[in-house]
C-alpha cells in the first residue's frame, strides 16, 4: 500500500469506486461542512474537498478535510497551484498527513480572474504535473523538492485531473500519460456529458496501456435544470454539453427537470461502468449533496464495499 487509504484499498481490491465532492463554505462555519458530510457518509468511498474552487475564497481544503475525518468520512484533499508556492504546499502536505489525511488531488486551479479576488497575484510556482511529482518524490524517496531528506515523509495516494473535452483533443491522452509518469495513482475526469468523446479518449488511453497504470474515475455532475445545463455549456471553460442533454431537459416540465437530470446522470453512470478502463465514478453533485444517496442507489452503487 502506498498510503493505506480506504480509496486506495477499494481500487486495488478491484472494486468499482465512488467518490463524492464537498465544497467548503465561504465562511468559518464548521457546521456547513458537517451538514454536507451527513449526506455523503456511507454513500461514497471518499470525498473531494475543493481548494478555493473557481478562485472563490472558501474555508481551506485541509481544514474542511479534517472536519470530514471527524465525521467519519475519508477526504480527497484538493490542492491547487494558484495560491501557494512549493514551500507552502510541502508544509501543508506534511501537516495534513500528520493529521490523518491520506489522499491528495493535485490541480492547477482556475485563474483568479473568474473568482471573487480578481486583483490577486497568482502563484503557479509549480504546475500540477510538478506537484504530482513532488508528492510522489516525498512519498517514495523521502525527499523534499529542495533535496532535504525526511525521516517521516507524507505518504499520499495521489490523485490528478484530466479533461478529455479540452483542446487540443489529440494531446489530451498524452497529458494523461505525463501525469501518470509524474506519479498519479488515480485520475478524476472533468464532468462528462459528451459520452462519445469520452469513449474516444478512453480508447486512446486503453490503447496506450494507460488504464493499466492508473485508476480512472469518470466524473459526472447531475443537472438541476435547463438553466444549469445552458450555463455549463456556454460559460464554464472546458465543458462539453451536447444539445441532446439540453433537449432532454427541455422536453420535460420545469418541475420534472431535476428528476430528469438525475435520470440522465444515473444512465451515464451505468454506461460508464461498462466501459473498459473506468475504475470508478467521481460524482460531483454541486451544492446538491443531498441527492447523492438517491443517485448512488439508483445507479446500483450501494451498498459500498467494506475494506
Amino acid at each position: 500500500m502506498k498510503s493505506g487509504s480506504k480509496l486506495e484499498k477499494i481500487l486495488t481490491a478491484g472494486e468499482f469506486a465512488l467518490t463524492g465532492e464537498c465544497g467548503p463554505p465561504r465562511n468559518a462555519d464548521p457546521e456547513a461542512v458537517r451538514k454536507k458530510a451527513q449526506h455523503l457518509k456511507g454513500v461514497v468511498d471518499a470525498v473531494n474537498v475543493t481548494d478555493n474552487q473557481t478562485a472563490v475564497v472558501r474555508m481551506s481544503s485541509w481544514a474542511a478535510s479534517l472536519i470530514l475525518i471527524q465525521e467519519g468520512l475519508e477526504p480527497n484533499y484538493q490542492m491547487v497551484c494558484r495560491d501557494r508556492n512549493r514551500l507552502a504546499m510541502q508544509s501543508d502536505l506534511m501537516g495534513s498527513y500528520a493529521l490523518g489525511i491520506r489522499n491528495v488531488v493535485c490541480l492547477s486551479g482556475d485563474h483568479q480572474k473568474f473568482g471573487d479576488h480578481p486583483e490577486a497575484k497568482n502563484v503557479y510556482d509549480i504546475d500540477s504535473m510538478q506537484l504530482i511529482s513532488m508528492v510522489k518524490i516525498m512519498r517514495e524517496e523521502k525527499r523534499m523538492n529542495g533535496g532535504q531528506e525526511m525521516e517521516i515523509p507524507p505518504r499520499f495516494f495521489i490523485g490528478a485531473a484530466a479533461n478529455p473535452f479540452a483542446d487540443p483533443f489529440e494531446f489530451r491522452v498524452h497529458r494523461l500519460a505525463k501525469k501518470i509518469a509524474a506519479g498519479a495513482d488515480f485520475i478524476q475526469t472533468q464532468c462528462i456529458y459528451n459520452m462519445a468523446k469520452f469513449q474516444k479518449w478512453l480508447n486512446q488511453a486503453n490503447d496506450m496501456g494507460l488504464t493499466e497504470k492508473v485508476y480512472i474515475l469518470a466524473g459526472v455532475t447531475p443537472m438541476k435544470s435547463v438553466g444549469m445545463a445552458k450555463y455549463m455549456k456556454n460559460l464554464v471553460p472546458g465543458m462539453d454539453v451536447p444539445d441532446e442533454i439540453i433537449g432532454r431537459l427541455t422536453g420535460v416540465e420545469k418541475k420534472q427537470q431535476s428528476a430528469e437530470g438525475i435520470k440522465i446522470c444515473v444512465e451515464q453512470i451505468q454506461q460508464l461502468r461498462e466501459m473498459k478502463g473506468v475504475a470508478g465514478i467521481h460524482l460531483m453533485a454541486i451544492e446538491w449533496e443531498e441527492r447523492v444517496p438517491e443517485i448512488a442507489e439508483m445507479a446500483g452503487l450501494l451498498p459500498r464495499p467494506q475494506v
Partner: protein, 222 residues
Amino acid sequence: MIVAERKPLNDIVKMVEPYRKVLILGCKGCVTVCNAGGVKEVGILASALKIAAKKEGKELIVGERTLERQCDPEYIEQVKDVIGEYEAVVSIACGVGPQFLAERYPETDIFPGVNTEFMGGALAHGVWTERCAGCGACLVHNFGGYCPIARCSKSLLNGPCGGSADGKCEIDKNVDCVWHLIVEKLTRQGKLDNLLQVQPPKSWTTARDGGPRKVIREDLAQ
C-alpha cells in the same frame, strides 16, 4: 531598455550541433545598447561558433545579420529571402525576437542566443540594473521615484521589512534596500507622512498575473 546577456557559448554550441548552416541574427535595439546582441556581438558569436566547430572537425557555415529590431514584423520580413539558406537561426535579440521569427518562419528552427534578464538601465559601463517589473500600473511617484515592486526583493508596498540593515537587503549585501532609499528620500523632502498610510493590496490585474497582455491603441490600430 530590455537587458539581456549572452548564453554560455557551450549552450549555443550544443543548440547548433545538428546543423551545418546557421544564421546568427542580431538586433539594433535594446540588446545593442546592453552589448548582448548587436552587430559586434553577432560577429563575436559567429567566430566563436566557427572555432568551436573546427575544433570538433565539423564544417559549419555561419551567416551574420543584424536587423533594425526583431520586435517588429516589418524588420522580421527583411530576412525572408535569405532565411531559406539556413537550417537554423540563433537570435540574439531579447525573447521577443526568436518568437517573432518562429511565427513568421515556421519551417526554420529558431534558437535564443541570449537570456533576457529585465527592464532596467546602465549604472556604469558594463553594469546594468533592474528598475521596472512591468506591472501595468506605475506607482513610483508614491515612493520617491523608486519602484518597490521591481527593487524590493519581496515587492513590499509597506516596507522596509525587518531584514533591512545598513541600507542593504537581507538577501545580499550588494543589493540596496530600496525601502531604505525611499525612506531617506522622503525624509529629506519632508514627505515622510506619505509613507505612514497603510498601502492597500495592489490590483495585479494589469500585471502578468492578469494573463498575457496586449496594448491596443484605437487611434493607431486599423
